[in-house]
Amino acid sequence: MLKATLKNIFAHKIRLALTALSIILGVGFIAGTYIYTDTIGRAFDGIFADAFEGVDIVVSSASDLQFSEGGFLPEEDINALAAVEGVDDLQTYIQGFGVIILNKEGEPLGGQGPPQFGANFDSADVAGGFTLRDGGLPVGPTEVVLDAGSAESAGFSVGDTVQIVAPTAAATDYTVVGIAGFGELDNLGGATFALFDLPTIQSLLDKDGLLSGASIQVTPGADVDQVIARIEPLLPDRGTVVSGQTAAEEQAGQIQEGLAFFNTFLLTFGFIALFVGSFIIANTFRIIVTQRSRELALLRALGATAGQVNRMVLIEALAVGLVASVVGIGVGFGIAVLLRTALDTFGVELPAASLTLAPRTIAVSMVVGVAITVLSAILPARRAARVPPVAALRDTMTTPRRKALTTRGITGAVVVAVGLGVLAIGLFANFSNGPPEIAYVGLGAAVVFIGVSILSPLVARPVARFIGWPFARLFGVPGKLARENAGRTPRRTSATAAALMIGITLVTLAAVMAASIRGTVDEILGTGIDADLIAAPANQFDPTASFTPDVADAAKANSDFADVTRLKLRSALVNGSETFIAGVENNFDAFFPLDDGSAGTTLLQPGEIWVAQGVAEANEWSLGDDVVIDFQNTGEQTFTLVGVAVGDTAEGILAITIDDYVTNFGSSTDSQVYAKLAAGVTLDQGKATLESIAEGVPTANVQTLEELQSDAEQQINQLLNLITGLLGLAVVIALIGVTNTMTLSVYERTREIGLLRAVGLSRLQTRRMIRSEASIISIFGASLGVAIGIFFGWAILQALQDQGFTAFVIPYGTVLLWIIVTGILGVIFALLPAWRASKLNVLEAISYE
């Protein structure tokens, strides 16, 4: 039987190659993701190991916060550690966000995601890993050393003058005295670094007398663990001490965590692609089994058992899966290189290293690729085993046993219901432990897809007729035949369409989410914020980016503005999880009209806090309760809850007074400034005024509310485009399924095509017939996808309503475009089978059995 199986594989190599392609692409994407992230991870491991070489002990401030530059420790406490027995050399360091290098045109460098660091650079061989490439160390308040990446991109060299903005200061001139690299790297993943001597950067960061930590070399022969034990009791609050090795591992670990997120994000798309691929494999094997039923029956008649026939198909699937997975891993290398190129283009420089193929990558790729192929072939294999021996003697192909319509309907409905149930659990339930909700959402969606694909053959015929109507009108007989053909094998049409449905559902979902989020943003900016102008960092993704309070002070003093308010934002721990705390002024509610659930949001006193309703409910707080906030610098502080605010604009907010904020965060900088124009001042005038006030403070980027809105929309659109692009893989795989189905259909209808050609169908008309059918099937899939995508979008937005996503917008234009584009893509992916059909030899085709 093995011989028969292998012969089959060779006999059907084209069909199987197309099938394998769907697996190759899916596995390739998964392998590529792993290879890429492993490569970066390993490179970073090396970099941090190098950076901490010669550093025995690292003292730093403990931080559980992601959106924070880390804590700061009193300078005198750290310096005192130099006297500890066994400490040979102690180098203090400080680094913070928001120190921005301006290029020669006065525009900020970086800031598109990675932070803009300021740090000290007092010794050429300390932790932090900077090494001088050129020039010398910075000394005094006017000297700076730039990271090599920034220096190169802006064209600065030693001796140049550079303008730098800091949280506490507007743009100021500095002399570039040196260029530094981070090991072999020019920069760290796109972050920029401006390096000063210690007092200068302390003052720029508004951290006089504070340090981030220190790196220590022990005296030769001293035991590192013993020295650590001696240091520990001397540390100030929140100080931690670890060995240099541990610190290197921890830092690399943080990178790995970030990479893991990136990895999961990309893998998701790989698995979606494979899920789509599984539909294609199942469909291909089903069609092949049907077409081969006579041959299978002959084997049965000659004495093969049903089990042997079943195994024959499964072994075929196994072989295809194995080959495709191996090829997929090879393709993975190419995809890894593509990913690197793509990120390089976006200016994110990651360490170059030779590509890493971990055993785990091979294992996952092989197991996933083979398992999906074999699992998808199980049902077709069982069908093959059911072919009766007598079918060998029959003249026509055995008609597949059709499941009774009611059985199909009930099965499909039950599966859809189960899927929706799981989806609902994921969306609306709150688990304190167990798998994350998103896993339920994903699983539920997958089950819904399967259910819909079970149900869709029931509607395939009428829907295909409906979609095919314009084709019949436009193309005459070829269109009419295409319309009939699309409806004649509902299962095949549905299975092909279902694969497309998945991709289009997700694309539609992304479009609906993006449109709805845009809608929510519009609502908030349109009605939620009562202001004319805003000054805020251009990089909205960096929540710690902030600027000098001088901007708000000057604006308040300017007569062009009727009212000005400032907002400060930093994160702290609330009940163990990182939460943004806002420092607000008492005119806050003049800008953010709150549907004030209670008094108290307007006149906040020190020690008092008001929060959004959702926050109060989530933490089970009521008015008068104590709210404990764990600050990085000052530890746990208790506030009295005096107000609960209702309304979109207050969503998620915990507001304290500016004084409390400055005390606890040790930061006086503002995150956002809002201004209302005085009577008679035009928007342009007001903007010009605020811009002149914020001159030299590029982090205080002045925008009208309308500009802010279009900026936000642009960012949402960018993300939408990225996700749509990644989903493109799933759509392409589904389209390969269209090619596959059409190839098999042409093969199966050889005689019919021959007949049509004999009675006068031209080659062009033949091609048009096949292409139209592919288009009808594709549009069917896209329509299903659009419908489900809109529904999923609606369901998810229902679940997110509590979190302020109140708008539900269907982007009709976009989804209509997707349906049309999919129809056109269907035509393109049917070019090959259509060409083959038109080239059939009429005579051979007519006499084909």
């Binding site: 007949l755 031209s762 005579l843």
Partner: protein, 242 residues
């Protein structure tokens, strides 16, 4: 004999190369008269189907020339041949004559629909009535018996009033009663409508419905007979084989 609706001049058809070389038609010259029901007979491998295929523009020639009317088929490209088949030739094959997704009437008007030509409704109605399928027109092929399917195929061949109809063993898959009905209908089409039909068959009874029989053997025309009846035909076959 009237003018020729189609004719072959010194037609040769060779398949394969060198050792596998088979001469299917060897210098055949024959003409098929207008409004005549001609049968081509011969044993398997005699070249009768090949002759029909080259005359109908379904297969190309190794030598000689083929005319449908005054049109020299060897001068036509694929597109022109397709149009010729669509507009000037009718076909009835042994089996699988109908497009399964189309109804009987849609199959009947198919060549004209492909051409984007409106059928002569009166004529189509007349053909359908003559063939006795008026009540089955909206049925799809699977809902028709084998005999009905072949009659639909014959109606399709007639509906566009082609210059010539080629029928390849049209009754080969039918029981004798259905076969007789179909052949009578074909003969009727020639007698009443003046249709030209060329039918390939190896069945003496089927051939006896024709006006004239051309006998082929080993790729050559070996004999001819007019006003045949089954006995005469069988005798002739025996003498040819003997």
């Amino acid at each position: 004999m009237t003018t020729a609706a189609a004719r072959a001049e010194n037609v040769t058809k060779v398949y394969g190369y060198d050792e596998t070389r088979v001469t299917a038609l060897d210098d055949v010259t024959v003409a098929f008269g207008s409004s005549v029901f001609t049968a081509i007979m011969g044993p398997s491998g005699s070249g009768k189907s090949t002759l029909m295929h080259v005359m109908a523009g379904l297969d190309d020639l190794s030598g000689g020339r083929v005319f449908v009317g005054d049109e020299d088929l060897s001068l036509l490209d694929d597109k022109e041949l397709t149009q010729l088949r669509r507009d000037r030739i009718g076909f009835v094959f042994q089996a699988f004559n109908l497009v399964p997704t189309l109804t009987a009437i849609e199959n009947i008007t198919l060549p004209m629909d492909i051409a984007g030509r409106a059928p002569d409704q009166e004529w189509v109605d007349h053909v359908v009535e003559t063939i006795g399928l008026s009540d089955r027109l909206s049925h799809r092929p699977v809902e028709l018996s084998g005999g009905q399917q072949q009659r639909v195929a014959a109606a399709r061949a007639l509906a566009s009033r082609p210059e010539i109809i080629f029928a390849d063993e049209p009754s080969g898959n039918l029981d004798s009663r259905s076969g007789a009905e179909l052949l009578s209908f074909l003969r009727q089409a020639v007698r009443e409508f003046g249709q030209t039909i060329v039918m390939v068959t190896h069945d003496a009874i089927a051939a006896s419905y024709s006006d004239r029989i051309v006998f082929l053997g080993d790729g050559r025309v070996v004999d001819e007979m007019t006003e045949p009846n089954p006995e005469k035909v069988l005798d002739r076959i025996k003498s040819l084989e003997g």
